[in-house]
């Protein structure tokens, strides 16, 4: 799917993750910048999860920044999906 606009979800609080997402032009691919307070322990899992969610939404051309402060998996998924649906203009109730 094609993203329409920039969006974000999450906070910089401990145990949360901040997701910033913006569309890239066709064929530019995925540009991911992932950082985490638990990079050593969970960095690989986090990258894999981000890619899986992007796969699920069939998003190929995207610039995504994830700043993780030790969020649990359900939190990460929720923040990612929120940011994506906002960028897709699909989220009901979100003020534009």
């Amino acid at each position: 799917m094609e993203l329409h606009r920039k969006a974000q979800a999450g906070t910089f609080e401990s145990s949360d993750i901040m997701i910033l997402i913006e569309p890239l032009k066709n064929k530019e691919g995925r540009k991911l910048e992932i950082s985490s307070s638990v990079m050593l322990q969970y960095g690989d899992m986090l990258s894999e999860l981000v890619n899986n969610i992007l796969d699920k939404y069939e998003i190929e051309n995207v610039h995504l920044i994830a700043k993780d402060k030790g969020a649990l998996e359900p939190t990460i998924i929720a923040r990612l999906e929120t940011a994506i649906t906002r960028a897709l203009n699909q989220q009901k109730g979100t003020l534009l």
Binding site: V38, L40, Q41, Y42, M45, K69, G70, A71, L72
Partner: protein, 518 residues
């Protein structure tokens, strides 16, 4: 060789000699004496009316005739506000002194600037109860050839008595002192309260320098450090940053999770059978541990119970409880905020104690032995109830042993209060990175996800259950946590040993290995 908790310990470390493996928390004490001989403290002489005052720290250090290979001992009552240790080491480095053994009662972020002196060989060995900040990281990466030794507050006194730490030069920053060297931390612009950790250094230092930014008319009162042990006195403009040494009052955490844990812990204490008239109590200085005091305070008022004493690191919260008459006495080895200094100076029931009386295992009874209840924090705790308070989740040295193992060993009820995980890092785990406090001295773990009683104490569990407090198996809790956070990728270590963890009796309970570069 393997020690009693199955940790692999080297037989020998070059600069220390043969190592004795940990045998059990009370094994060495059972005999009633210590086999190692106590070394005699130095004898000294001064002529009547001989002047001890020096104009600068450098002048005083020069008079002590410093030599390469010497041991410098120091105290950490200035906490993060300390300006003197880095200055002293830089003077020694300037004089070309190398190969210093630094034995400070603890090291923290204010000592980050020492890093270059570890790099250039000025400092080659370290004994301390804790190491934080950049030093901890660098040591974990293997900056020193020799492993550092981490001891407890009580263990440090023993190490000095037995000559494992030989203080050639002792530097004692003090908030006030007189021209003969009587000194205190209780008043002055840089007041830090109790000077309890430095008392053993003063007694054993071959050369003792007191540094103060408040030189008072003779005599300085109260006498924390005695003039008959002090060689030189230096007046400086400032011994450190007062706002970082001790400021204001310590507040109870507002974190709902810490409060929840603390409340559960107070329930456990209430129904442990020890919560009675005359009970004695110790808590840490922050987080859930200090918050336990809040709920105990309420319960004491509610049940009209008066305690005997509070011990250890004293915060303004303890002072409040003393003022309310909830406890008869505060025994203060280390004061955590400015309010405490005021109380120490003005309330005769608030008593400064030396580290030896606080926690040294080898005497006729330290005060930790008289404790009923202690509530302590943890960086990690494993299913054998072993506690890590020294290495962080990435394997780096970043904490302090402090009085953790001393109080756990002494108290009739040791309660560990901590969240089950913190920012996705499991706190309750199968095997802690580093053992500081052995599980056999831990009675109960209280987390937000449940209370686990050490199976070595079935009576306690029965008692709690009977009072309606639910308990669960620690293995079950560990599994639940693991499922929530996801199994972490293990941290990689090399074979190089960067730190030894001394148990309070001098045996080695664990080692810290170098973190592998990745």
């Amino acid at each position: 060789m393997k020690n009693a908790i199955n940790r692999e310990i080297p037989n020998k470390i070059k600069y220390i000699g043969e190592l004795e493996p940990f045998m059990g928390a009370w094994e060495k004490l059972k005999k009633g004496w210590m086999d190692e001989i106590s070394v005699p403290p130095p004898n000294k002489a001064k002529l009547p009316h001989q002047k001890k005052i020096c104009d600068t720290l450098k002048e005083a250090i020069l008079k002590t005739n410093p030599q390469s290979g010497m041991t410098l001992t120091y105290h950490h009552h200035l906490r993060n506000g300390d300006d003197i240790l880095v200055k002293a080491i830089s003077i020694l480095a300037e004089l070309g002194i190398k190969d210093i053994t630094l034995a400070s009662s603890s090291l923290n972020e204010s000592h980050d600037a020492l890093l270059r002196y570890l790099e250039d060989g000025t400092i080659t060995k370290i004994w301390s109860s804790g190491i934080r900040g950049e030093l901890g990281k660098a040591i974990s990466k293997g900056i020193l050839k020799n492993p550092v030794v981490i001891h407890s507050h009580g263990g440090r006194v023993r190490a000095i008595h037995t000559g494992k730490i030989k203080p050639d030069l002792t530097i004692i920053p003090a908030a006030s002192a007189d021209e003969e060297g009587n000194a205190t931390g209780a008043h002055g612009k840089s007041a830090f309260g109790s000077i309890g950790y430095a008392r053993i250094d003063a007694r054993y230092g071959k050369q003792v320098i007191v540094v103060t930014d408040n030189l008072v008319d003779y005599p300085c009162n109260p006498i924390g450090i005695r003039q008959d042990f002090v060689d030189y006195i230096v007046k400086v403009d400032s011994i450190g940053d007062p706002t970082k040494i001790a400021s204001g009052t310590t507040r109870i955490t507002k974190s709902p999770m810490d409060l929840r844990i603390a409340k559960l812990a107070a329930d456990v204490i209430e129904h442990s059978g020890l919560f009675d008239e005359g009970f004695s109590f110790q808590v840490g200085a922050g987080g859930a541990s200090l918050a336990v005091a809040k709920f105990i305070r309420e319960k004491m008022k509610h049940k009209n119970i008066k305690g005997s004493f509070m011990l250890g690191g004293i915060t303004s919260y303890c002072v409040e409880m003393l003022k309310e008459g909830l406890f008869k006495t505060l025994f203060d080895v280390q004061s955590f905020d400015a309010e405490v200094s005021y109380s120490l100076l003005n309330n005769k029931h608030h008593i400064e104690i030396p580290a030896s009386l606080y926690a040294n295992p080898f005497n006729c009874g330290c005060m930790t032995n008289k404790l009923d209840v202690v509530a302590l924090g943890a960086l990690e705790i494993d299913t054998d109830f072993n506690v890590n308070v020294i290495t962080g989740s990435e394997g780096n040295i970043r904490g302090a042993s402090g009085g953790h193992s001393d109080t756990a060993s002494g108290a009739q009820l040791t309660v560990i209060v901590c969240p089950s995980f913190r920012g996705r890092i499991p706190i309750v785990t199968k095997k802690v990175h580093t053992v500081v406090t052995p599980g056999e001295s831990v009675h109960v773990l209280v987390t937000e996800r449940g209370i686990c009683v050490n199976p070595k104490f079935p009576e306690l569990e029965k008692r709690l259950n009977k009072a309606g407090i639910k308990t669960r198996k620690i293995e079950e809790l560990e599994k639940e946590v693991d499922e929530i956070v996801g199994t972490a990728k293990p941290i990689k270590f090399t074979d190089k040993i960067v730190g030894l963890i001394e148990y309070r009796d001098g045996t080695i309970i664990d080692v810290i290995r170098q973190v592998a570069e990745c």
